[in-house]
Point group: C2
Chain length 134, copies 2
């Protein structure tokens, strides 16, 4: 998933027109499963050959999230993380270091889940285990 053609294909098949900037950002995100902030992505994008403005980075991340290419992870009040792993999983968030790490799906099991309020549907189930150094 680090090769440009695969990325272009991936974008297209999600209904995203693969512009230079979008492909650049997608390459950063999909290089490996990771958690990046918008700031980090902006910085990384501008180290590479092409560049992208702040507005474009935010627009693109919003678009990717809407299309399901990326998952927004809200654990730190000061910034949102973009997770390139969209398969079902959960998170540890270390409040001492600010580090976000994955918990595999099969490490948690629910045997009971709540009924949703009338007139609503679920869009995601998040589990965050906040940890600190001991």
């Amino acid at each position: 998933m680090n090769n440009r053609d695969d990325i272009v294909e991936k974008l297209k098949s999600s209904g995203v027109t693969p512009t230079t900037q979008r492909v650049e950002i997608a390459q950063i995100l999909f290089a490996r499963p990771q958690h990046l902030s918008a700031e980090q992505i902006l910085e990384m994008a501008n180290e590479g050959s092409s560049t992208a403005s702040k507005a474009t980075v935010y627009n693109t991340l919003g678009l990717f999230a809407k299309k399901g290419l990326v998952k927004e992870v809200i654990v730190d009040p000061s910034k949102v993380f973009y997770d390139s792993n969209v398969s079902r999983h959960f998170h540890f968030f270390n409040t001492d270091t600010g580090m976000l790490t994955d918990i595999p799906v099969d490490a948690i099991n629910f045997d009971k889940l709540p009924e949703l309020p009338e007139g609503t549907e679920s869009s995601s189930l998040e589990v965050i285990v906040r940890i600190k150094n001991s």
Copy 2:
């Protein structure tokens, strides 16, 4: 828990000196189980008899959270909610309305939880069910 003396006692027994502003803010929070943002609390505090500055509201909420009087809930990237219910429970977050509601503990059951990373301890386990209007 809406009576001033009870609140003063509650603060004292958590090691918080009960100043005018802190009692005012505590009264707002503990009037009933609810989820309020700092902005809302600031506004409500300044409708009442005494007043509190922005800095004091933020300081006080941070102090209350540290002392376990209140729980920070991070679900909306734009603001943190302060939850006056500190007993174990989980949350629905409606992304259409921005409304945060409780899920009682017994509506969710885990039969498997992950091991923590080496050298860390858990500080909280959060479950957030994101919902939208259907």
